[in-house]
Symmetry: C2
Subunit: 481 residues, 2 copies
């Protein structure tokens, strides 16, 4: 068994040796994705897509609970529509895929495959918003978007990716600001409770905010190697787009006014975050809330009479309790199966053999700690649920420890450069508010950028870590995917 | 109240007067969709999209129950990939939207926005199928596809539409043929039990089958006006694509073989079928299984003390029982609300006023028959569920009656032409098997085409209704959307 186990594991590069290669190995070997012949576009295989479906289900319920409704806009944006908001087009036009031929005719105006849909939503909002009675509009869309990326990496940066984009319109600035923050909180809660990922949240600097937004809020989980992944953003637009698209409504006081707007989104990058935050040298580790298989039921000595029957009954019992179980009665060796489900990150393994059946018990093994627990079949559901809950908290705990261990404080320029060079992770440091300093720090460090101004700022010193002028904010900095 | 009702209804053209305009009025006034500035692309508004979500939920559960897994393929197809299967490219290339520029560069090879994904699935199948152990592959994809249509109509024919496409690979021809038929049966069962639409099913003639398929099976519901809507198709490909894409596997007998393939799909056209099959001059009528709102709870004299509180409690009670309820406590008149939810096709209206509360009762009104029923609040859930079930069976019954009343039998050429001209609906007639006869009948009638060769054929006569030669099949004919 040990031998089999080893053989399987040898197929993945270790994290220590080469984190990037480890990542690539995991996404392939765990059968999450496959490459396609279209540059930068990936194939979501069943196991990878099932994770996305569970993410969708969890988020969609949260959005609807807060009154949001799903809609679907066209996937094409005429060039003239995309260019209506100046900052927005500058941000997105350079990375659009353009349709120039429809059927057998050259189009009179080329169409961008949507990189994001603010402009389409605005055009629709102009048609359906007339009075304060039509507000708020709380819309969300699940779709794929295209951004023509030069370098791509599965789940993290691909030319096409899947996401949700919320777009809302409100009577007042306050209401829109509250929505922007509320949706960031939804993301934060989901990252923590569903993905087992604690993260830094806060406001983006001017330089890093979304094209066309007044303010962008972000959630920034830290990967196991200390690198940040921008995990989701929520934007407050003020009435900028409303003015550009001439969206007005008759207010309660009978005045014609511009409504206030937000948008917010998370994408299949989340799957990348899960892999890089929780995975280990044996492969993926999936948080129970989104794991397509929560329990891998492995029969031991399955050729012996009664084993498979008892295993099937147990599977049905666990399924009936709402657990996602897979009974693997295939003809591969037990060791191969153990490695296989470890690789696939199944949170709990359940072993059931003739001896166990005799003793009315079974063995549970945690994917995180690999701890074995002998439990009675009389309360197997409670035991499995308890171990799943334990896996979740252990994942949160580990990620929290990683986040705090790899968080350095820098009060001087020297300290900052030293941390950037020698300490993988985030850096807390004061900043004057000038984009030039962000630019300089990025250049000096070969890529460390401001992640965000967190909601609660420590006062580390009075001066900017870069220029020494008066500090305005404490910023969390880091390299990113 | 009657006056209000009338005012609302005046906004829709009657079906008798102009069925096409009635359809357009309904999709707009019931707020199912809106037009976009992109030719042929529509916007799914919340109410329309919610119907699609319920359809997805129902179908997805059925697919998974049968062992299918969801995946996601890229939205782009390189031209060289699309052209690998000769018949397939001839069918689709003329109606593709082509991406020719990515980012700021002209692409070396243009990319079609997927019109359907057989080619992408084949490319992936070639990578993941090696042994009989890898079969069957039972995949499904939910996505949007693009076919550059010249004339478009909301839900029925649009340049972009939403759909599911199942793609499966099998060891044997028999297994693939069984899958093809099984999935048609799933569609048939779903049309009947979820959409309340009985339909004709059968095999497409050579002329009408899918580009690249050996056989195409179809479900053909009849709209209220007697016109057919191709409601879903299921294709058996044999090993044609497998050969074109060089997909092989090592069989149980150690021989290298080509696997056998199917694909099957239904789209947002289904929403068009629901509208045109069930709607009436007061608007939409939605089958309870997919209605976003199953019960519209309208408080009467809602300003009177206790009415809104009792209504809210009733709503919560119905919701807890799993019903989709909307309590409308807005400030519009009761009559306006009645018309509004009739227009939106909500199957059951529940009225609750001070008198009702005094009597511990409420009023249920069926959207189909408009029959009022006074029921006790003690068993309101059972009563609502019973009325929903009744609405479903009445819809099925009405649609079945329409289908049988508008089914004509023609045994001579003259009878066929007469039916085509004077009797809206389907025509049963014998056919020799020659495409030339199909072509001739279509030309002579201005559009009557073979819908399908039904699974059970009546023997109407010995000769083809067109050429008089020996008949091979009984075909159901009809005009189509």
């Amino acid at each position: 068994m040990a031998k089999d186990n080893k053989k399987m594991v040898e197929q993945i590069t270790s994290m220590e040796e080469d984190f990037t290669q480890w990542y690539t190995d995991v996404v392939k070997k765990a059968e999450l994705m496959d490459y396609s012949s279209i540059k930068g576009c990936m194939i979501f295989r069943p196991y990878g897509y099932a994770i996305w479906e569970n993410i969708q289900k969890g988020l969609d319920a949260r959005f609807k609970e807060l009154g949001h409704e799903n809609v679907y806009m066209p996937m094409f944006i005429p060039e003239s529509l995309l260019t209506k908001e100046k900052d927005h087009v500058e941000g997105f036009a350079p990375e659009c895929a353009w349709v120039t031929v429809g059927g057998e005719n050259k189009l009179t105006e080329r169409l961008a495959v949507r990189p994001t849909s603010e402009t389409l939503f605005c055009e629709h909002f102009r048609d359906v918003i007339h009075s304060y009675r039509d507000l708020p509009k709380l819309y969300n869309q699940w779709c794929s978007v295209v951004r023509w990326e030069k370098t791509t990496r599965p789940f993290l940066r691909t030319s096409e990716f899947l996401w949700q984009e919320g777009h809302t319109m409100h009577e007042t600035e306050d209401e829109a600001r509250a929505e922007t923050l509320q949706m960031l909180k939804v993301y934060e809660e989901f990252y923590l409770n569903a993905l087992a990922i604690p993260a830094v949240t806060g406001r983006k600097t001017e330089k890093e905010k979304f094209a066309g937004a007044e303010e962008t809020y972000t959630i920034e989980p830290m990967m196991h190697n200390g690198v940040a992944l921008q995990g989701g953003t929520s934007h407050f637009f003020g009435d900028g787009f409303a003015r550009a698209f001439d969206i007005t409504y008759t207010a309660r006081d009978n005045q014609v006014r511009y409504p206030f707007q937000t948008s917010w989104g998370v994408s299949t990058r989340m799957i990348g975050a899960i892999i890089m935050c929780h995975g280990d040298d044996n492969g993926l580790i999936l948080p129970p809330a989104i794991a397509p298989i929560q329990v891998a039921l492995i029969p031991i000595a399955q050729h012996k009479e009664g084993v498979l029957d008892r295993a099937a009954a147990l599977r049905d019992q666990l399924k009936a309790a709402g657990l996602r179980v897979k009974l693997d009665d295939g003809d591969q060796s037990t060791g191969w199966k153990f490695s296989q489900y470890e690789m696939k990150g199944v949170p709990v393994r359940l072993e059931l053999g003739p001896k166990d059946i005799e003793n009315n018990s079974c063995v549970l093994v945690s994917r995180v700690t690999r701890e074995k627990k002998f439990v009675s079949l009389d309360n197997v559901i409670e035991e499995v649920e308890a171990m799943l809950a334990q896996v979740h908290s252990e994942l949160v705990e580990r990620a929290r420890r990683n986040l705090s261990e790899k968080m350095t404080t820098a009060t001087t320029h020297e300290e900052f450069l030293d941390a950037a060079e020698n300490k993988p992770g985030f850096i807390k440091a004061m900043w004057c508010g000038d984009s030039a300093c962000e630019e300089q720090l990025k250049d000096e460090t070969g890529g460390v950028k401001s992640r965000c101004i967190p909601f609660v700022e420590d006062h580390l010193s009075d001066v900017c870590v870069c220029c020494g002028k008066k500090a305005k904010h404490m910023v969390v900095w880091g390299r990113q995917y």
